[in-house]
Symmetry: C2
Subunit: 129 residues, 2 copies
DNA sequence: ATACATGCAAACACTTTGCAGCACA
DNA sequence: TGTGCTGCAAAGTGTTTGCATGTAT
């Protein structure tokens, strides 16, 4: 494992990573920023955004783009699916196996190169229903 | 078929609906606005947004929330999936049957009420690969 | 006549970026 | 020591909203 990109391990970056790892509730950037601020109020929001993006690109955290809302992040990097409550907007894991077959089905679909997929369920969480 | 909501059939609304029906390329609100403007430059962008939202709620068009990008709309209202090219950002239909089983699998999942799901594939379109 | 719809502009939520100074390797 | 990173503020997207006016029913 070797990367061409020379990334520095700044205090801010370590703090963002640690924070996401300690949050189990799929925080979005704002929520991470709030947590980070509790420990070091000097860290700017732009830095949180930049580091979340970088850490996701490096594979240290999972970036979950959410339709109709702020993207959120997950310390669990293995591919998995999510459900978003349409009332409280919270995002939860769905304990469903990754649908490899889905990917197989449309591989080479009409000249497309299909790389990833995501499934987002929508409905009501136990608290809101 | 009866609706409690008294909606008026304004020129603007008819124009937005007709425009989406004539566009087969999953336009987002901006693209619809551009088309609408060609016919009637007086129609405001807010009106296009308002009418797209209303028409989708009424079931006349399909609203497709796109992660990492502008939501788009589809004259084809039957549930189906999409693929977004990560290079040109265009959205295409995927000719894959609606995965009813997916829904069945997690119905009543841990107290959730699951209402809908969407699958968005990502990769490269034939033009970009 | 009167609710609903419109145009406009401003506000909104989320995210990125330009820049000058700072700090990690 | 130098490039990568930071904080700040401003700008950039995509979308919604308050308000006065307009219009379909």
């Amino acid at each position: 494992m070797h990367s061409d990109i020379k990334n520095r391990n700044t205090l801010q970056r370590k703090l963002v990573l640690e924070t996401v790892r300690n949050m189990t509730n799929h925080p979005d950037a704002e929520m991470v920023y709030d947590e980070v601020s509790k420990i070091n109020p000097m860290v700017s929001k732009a830095t949180v955004y930049r580091n979340l993006k970088l850490l996701a690109k490096q594979g240290h955290i999972l970036h979950i783009p959410i339709p109709d809302g702020a993207d959120c992040f997950d310390f669990n990097c293995s591919p998995h699916y999510h459900i978003k409550c349409r009332k409280c907007s919270r995002v939860f894991d769905v304990d469903m196996p990754y649908q490899e077959n889905l990917y197989q089905n449309i591989k080479n679909y009409r000249g497309f190169v299909i790389e990833t997929h995501q499934i987002v369920f929508s409905g009501l969480c136990p608290d809101c229903k």
